[in-house]
C-alpha cells in the first residue's frame, strides 16, 4: 500500500471521478451511552468536494473525525457499521492505521502548527512516511509552500517558528503539512471558522483547485461557503444523514422537509 503510493500522485486519476471513494455504511457511533451518529449511509464522491452541513451538534465533526479514526482514543468509543476507503473497511482489524491517516489528510477548526520550524512543519510527515528522499526535501517543501501561496511570506524564515505567522498563514501552513503526505482524501473541519475573509478566500481557492484530483470532505456551518465550494451536500441532523444531493439541487429544491426548514431558518 505504502510502496504503491510513494512518489506518485494518488490514484484518483486512474479511477473515475464521481464514483464513491469513501462509502459509509450504516454507521453508528456512541460514546458510552450517548448515541452520536445513528445509522448513517453515504457515498463520498471521488475527486469532488462534499460539504457536511447541519445544525450545531448534529454530528458533522464526529463523522469527519471517524473517517480519520481520531476517536480511537476517546473513552467509551463504540462504532457499528463500516467505512470503506476504496473498498476496504478502515475499521477492519489489521488496518494500518497510520497509513490510513496518511491517506486521509485533515485540517482543523483552528490552525495547529507543530512547535517546530516552518520547514519542519511541512516536511516532517512526508519524511516520516518515507515519501521524500533526503535530497528532495528542500525543493518539495518549497513547492508545497508555493502551492498554498505561502512561499513569498516565509521564504526568508523557513527555520523560524510558525507562531510569528498570522492565523491565516498558520492555517495555510497546516494545509501544506497535510498535502505533503499526499492524501487521497482531505478532511476539512470548519477550517476557516477562525480566519479573516482574505485567508478564508485563499483556503476556498485551494479547495476549488483540488477538484478532480482529490476527494474533499468539508464540514462547514456557513451555507454560503457550502454553496460556493461544494459539489455535493450531505445534510445531517441529530446524528442522522437526512439528505445527500448535488449542491445546486440541495439549495434550489431540497428533497426533504427538514432540509427545507433548515435552509429557511425554521426550526425543524
Amino acid at each position: 500500500m505504502l510502496m504503491e503510493s510513494r512518489g506518485t500522485p494518488p490514484d484518483v486519476a486512474s479511477a473515475a471521478v464521481g464514483e464513491g471513494a469513501v462509502a459509509i455504511q450504516d454507521l453508528s457511533v456512541r460514546f458510552g451511552s450517548t448515541q452520536v451518529l445513528k445509522g448513517i449511509s453515504a457515498q463520498i464522491a471521488r475527486g469532488k468536494v462534499t460539504a457536511l452541513i447541519g445544525p450545531t451538534g448534529c454530528g458533522k465533526t464526529t463523522l469527519l473525525r471517524a473517517l480519520n479514526r481520531l476517536h480511537d482514543q476517546r473513552p467509551g468509543f463504540h462504532l457499528d457499521g463500516s467505512i470503506l476507503l476504496e473498498g476496504s473497511n478502515i475499521y477492519a482489524r489489521g488496518t494500518d492505521v497510520r497509513d490510513l491517516r496518511r491517506r486521509m489528510g485533515m485540517l482543523f477548526q483552528r490552525p495547529n502548527p507543530f512547535p517546530q520550524s516552518i520547514a519542519e512543519n511541512v516536511s516532517l510527515g512526508a519524511r516520516i512516511h518515507g515519501l521524500w528522499a533526503r535530497g528532495e526535501v528542500k525543493a518539495r517543501t518549497e513547492g508545497l509552500l508555493r502551492d498554498v501561496g505561502l512561499w513569498e511570506a516565509v521564504r526568508d524564515r523557513l527555520g523560524g517558528t510558525p507562531f510569528m505567522l498570522s492565523g491565516g498563514q498558520q492555517q495555510l501552513l497546516c494545509m501544506a503539512r497535510a498535502l505533503a503526505v499526499e492524501p487521497e482524501v482531505l478532511l476539512l473541519d470548519e477550517p476557516t471558522s477562525s480566519l479573516d475573509p482574505h485567508s478564508t478566500g485563499r483556503i476556498e481557492e485551494l479547495v476549488a483547485s483540488f477538484r478532480g484530483s482529490k476527494t474533499v470532505v468539508f464540514v462547514t456551518h456557513n451555507l454560503q461557503q457550502a454553496a460556493r465550494c461544494a459539489d455535493e451536500v450531505l445534510f445531517m441532523m441529530a446524528g442522522e444523514a437526512i439528505e445527500q444531493s448535488p449542491v445546486r439541487a440541495f439549495f434550489d429544491h431540497p428533497g426533504d422537509e427538514r432540509s427545507r426548514a433548515y435552509l429557511e431558518g425554521r426550526t425543524a
Binding site: P75, M106, R110, N112, G125, I128, S166, Q170, R177, S194
Partner: protein, 282 residues
C-alpha cells in the same frame, strides 16, 4: 440598627481574616530575621573557604550540591519517563494504579524512607554511609513530584496539537518528540527545579544514609560519608554555644537562599509553559 450589626459582623470577620493573613506573613519574616540575626557575625568569606571542622560551610555546600546533581541524574530521567508514560500511554486502569502508587509514596514520611534506606542499603547491602544510598532516598521523596509535574505538563498541551499529529499518521514516538514534548518542556523543567528545592531542604532521609563528615565530598558512592547543609543546622542549633548557633543560622540562610532561588527559577520557567497555547490564534 440592624445594618449596623451586619456591618459590625462584616468588620469583625474580615478583621479576623486579616489577622490570619498576618499569621502567615509574620512567621516567615520572623524566621528570616532570626536567621540573619543569629548568623550575622559569621557571614563572611570564611564560610565558603573553611569546612565545618573550622566553622565554615564549604564541605556542606559542596555536599548538598552533589546530592542535587545525583537527584537530577536519578530522579530526573526516571520521573520524566514515568510521567510521559502516565500521560501518553497508560490505560485508565493501569494509570489509576500507578497514580495511586506515586501519590501514596508522596505521603510517606521522609524518616520512614531514611530508615529503610539505612537498614537495607547501608546495613544489609553493606554500602556503609553512602552517597548513592542518600541519592536513592532523596529520589524516593521527589520522584512523585517529578512524575506529577511531567504528567500535568503533557496534559496541558492543547488537544488540537495531538490531533494534528495523529491525523498525519505519525508514529507515537515522533508525535511525542515533535509535537507534545516541546511545549511541555518548560513545565517539566520547572517541576524538576522545584523538586531540587524540596530535596535540598530534607534532613531525615539523609541522617543515617549518608552520615556526616567535616571533609569535602568525593564522588565515592559507597563507604564514604558526606557533609550537607541541613545537618549543620540541625546539629549546631541543638549545641549550646553562640558560635555554633551562628554557623547553624548561616547554613539555614544558605539553604533558604538556594531553595528560594530554585523555586523562583522554577516559577519563571513554568511561566513559559503557557506560551504555546497563547501562540495559537483563537
Amino acid at each position: 440598627m440592624r445594618s449596623t450589626l451586619r456591618r459590625g459582623r462584616d468588620l469583625v470577620f474580615w478583621g479576623l481574616c486579616l489577622l490570619a493573613l498576618a499569621i502567615v506573613i509574620v512567621p516567615s519574616l520572623a524566621i528570616i530575621a532570626s536567621l540573619l540575626q543569629q548568623s550575622a557575625p559569621a557571614l563572611n568569606a570564611h564560610l565558603l573557604t573553611a569546612t565545618t571542622a573550622s566553622n565554615g560551610l564549604q564541605n556542606a555546600i559542596l555536599g548538598s550540591g552533589l546530592l542535587m546533581v545525583g537527584i537530577l541524574v536519578v530522579a530526573g530521567p526516571v520521573g520524566i519517563a514515568g510521567g510521559i508514560y502516565l500521560a501518553e500511554f497508560a490505560s485508565p486502569t493501569r494509570g489509576g494504579i500507578l497514580r495511586l502508587g506515586y501519590e501514596t509514596l508522596a505521603g510517606v514520611p521522609s524518616i520512614v524512607i531514611g530508615f529503610v534506606g539505612y537498614i537495607v542499603l547501608d546495613q544489609e547491602f553493606h554500602w556503609g554511609f553512602s552517597l548513592l544510598a542518600a541519592i536513592l532516598a532523596l529520589s524516593a521523596i521527589v520522584l512523585p513530584y517529578v512524575v506529577k509535574t511531567t504528567e500535568v505538563a503533557l496534559m496541558q498541551v492543547p488537544a488540537t496539537l495531538r490531533d494534528a499529529a495523529i491525523a498525519l499518521g505519525l508514529p507515537r514516538v515522533t508525535i511525542l518528540r515533535r509535537a507534545l514534548l516541546p511545549p511541555a518542556i518548560p513545565g517539566i523543567a520547572s517541576g524538576l527545579v522545584v523538586a531540587l528545592a524540596i530535596a535540598v531542604g530534607e534532613t531525615a532521609p539523609l541522617l543515617y544514609t549518608v552520615g556526616f563528615t567535616d571533609q569535602n565530598p568525593t564522588l565515592t558512592l559507597f563507604q564514604h560519608p558526606i557533609g550537607y547543609l541541613t545537618y549543620v543546622v540541625y546539629l549546631n542549633a541543638t549545641l549550646p554555644t553562640q558560635l555554633e548557633h551562628e554557623v547553624a543560622g548561616a547554613a539555614g540562610l544558605v539553604i533558604l537562599a538556594m531553595i528560594l532561588v530554585l523555586i523562583g527559577v522554577g516559577r519563571l520557567v513554568g511561566r513559559r509553559a503557557v506560551r504555546y497555547a497563547a501562540q495559537l490564534p483563537t
